[in-house]
């Protein structure tokens, strides 16, 4: 990923900024410029919307064959998280043992290192999910 491409995604990756259709109220993540439900009537009405970062595990899978960047963490779980706003977001689960993960468990977004562009390259940061604190 180029530096500029990652930089453009910082609001979404750090603080889960997505979109909300002012016409029907549906929340999207990542950002959408048109609401697939309202289509033409959503043009110009898509608002910037920050997710609370809280949600529940909708489903998850354990990764045993990891890409080189994440090999040191394997095995690790990746979950589809249903956020409190209804939208589903995919992310890695951290600070929890794999055998302790349950469908429906409360999770919240935390900032972690996603990877880097080698020892001299830029470090990418973004959200992962840890068990919900409250």
């Amino acid at each position: 990923m180029t530096v500029a491409r990652f930089w453009r995604d910082i609001p979404s990756r750090y603080n889960l900024y997505g979109s909300r259709c002012a016409s029907c109220g549906k929340v999207y993540f990542p950002v959408r410029h048109i609401c697939p439900k309202c289509r033409r009537s959503s043009i110009g009405k898509m608002e910037r919307h920050r997710l609370s970062g809280k949600g529940r595990v909708h489903s998850f899978s354990v990764v045993h064959d990891a890409p080189p960047q994440l090999a040191v963490l394997k095995p690790y779980a990746v979950a589809i998280v249903e956020m409190d706003e209804g939208v589903k977001v995919t992310g890695q689960l951290v600070d929890v043992e794999i055998e302790e993960i349950d469908i429906g468990m409360g999770v919240e977004a935390v900032l972690r290192k996603l990877g880097d562009e080698g020892p001299a390259g830029i470090i990418h940061y973004g959200f992962k999910f840890s068990p919900r604190f409250d």
Partner: protein, 349 residues
């Protein structure tokens, strides 16, 4: 107008390793090390954690506990000796993570283990002069000791963030003072992966002289004596030094125990005094008086005289994890996993 702590947040990674496990690998008596240093375990960061993520987590906890508009934060300083980048500020990522960007002043600070408290003093000045409404000072580290070195038994990870302002302060700064000299007790040259130290030289002429002088001078300036304080938070490179220092200054074990986290999590370097302060603020009552003294090798000490205010009664501590909560749900690592997580194993390509 009074300047003080408006909010605070802390973060300690959940992985731990014991001195016994480290000693087992290097053929040293881990039990004796543990007793000598008064360290039962130390925290270890996950491979996806660093000073940026620890600072961000602490700063987010700090913001959750109060209703402060992040746009009102005028400065953010992160003190650390393990910033992930040599050039590219930690603070820019942290400021973005709490949405304090773009109208604020950010810089990364370095003064061995006291860069976080140096940030506190800078923010106190800026807020006190009316330059800004709020400022953030963070101390965090993911320190490393060379494999087999005595430092490996203590060097750990963690950090805490303080929101400093003039309104709704939960703890007031009565005064601050620094004591600084050129004392080469511990250093790391540019490009070196592990620090070097002067062994026993890090004790009397370094830690004890600077912390002791800063504490004594602070009390002299405030007209106080050890009996006036409920808590003493000292820099804690191991569990023994702060206990000995407290006794030398005339403080009791009870006064120093709440802010002493090293026996459980090791030496968090720049995070040590901010984390100790967080542990005290987790239980502090109005009127409690705290003397906090940081130490940074090289060398210097920053002392703070702090009084907890009535506002702590209405403070939403429960909105973020307490230090006690971070001591639970921990996971112990064996040395091999620790070495893998800390990048001590040479990988192919």
């Amino acid at each position: 107008m009074d300047v003080g702590i408006v909010s605070y947040g802390a973060f300690v990674p959940r992985f731990r390793i014991t001195p016994m496990e480290i000693g087992r690998v290097w053929g040293q008596d881990g039990k004796a090390m543990s007793k000598g240093l008064f360290i039962n375990s130390k925290s270890v960061p996950s491979p996806d954690e660093d000073v940026i993520t620890i600072s961000a987590q602490a700063a987010r906890g700090m913001m959750r506990r109060v209703d402060v508009d992040p746009a009102d934060i005028g400065a953010l300083y992160v003190g650390s000796e393990s910033h992930p980048y040599a050039v590219k500020p930690t603070g820019t990522v942290v400021a973005e993570a709490i949405e304090a960007s773009p109208e604020l002043c950010v810089a990364d600070l370095e003064f061995a283990c006291k860069a976080g408290t140096a940030g506190m003093q800078m923010v106190m000045g800026m807020v006190g002069s009316g330059m800004m409404r709020y400022g953030v000072a963070i101390g965090a580290d993911t320190s490393q000791g060379a494999p087999g070195d005595a430092l490996e038994y203590s060097a750990s990870a963690g950090g805490a963030a303080l929101l400093i302002g003039r309104e709704d302060i939960i703890a007031k700064f009565n005064g601050t003072l620094s004591y600084t000299t050129d004392t080469p007790d511990f250093w790391r040259r540019e490009g070196q992966p592990y620090p070097s130290h002067g062994g026993r030289f890090t004790g009397e002429p370094a830690y004890f002289k600077h912390v002791g002088e800063a504490a004594r001078r602070m009390m002299e300036r405030m007209g106080t004596s050890p009996g006036d304080y409920n808590h003493l938070v000292l820099h804690q490179p191991n569990g023994k030094f702060p206990q000995r220092m407290a006794s030398m200054l005339g403080f009791s074990e009870e006064q120093v125990s709440r802010g002493l986290l090293t026996p459980m999590i090791g030496n968090t370097y720049s995070g040590a005094v901010p984390l100790g302060l967080a542990a005290v603020l987790d239980v502090a009552k109005p009127g409690d008086r705290i003397l906090a003294v940081a130490y940074g090798s090289g060398a210097g000490s920053d002392a703070f005289d702090i009084t907890v205010t009535e506002a702590i009664k209405g403070f939403n501590r429960g909105a973020a994890p307490t230090i006690d909560a971070m001591m639970e749900n921990t996971k112990e690592l064996d040395y091999a996993t620790y070495a893998k997580y800390r990048g001590k194993i040479l990988m192919k390509g």
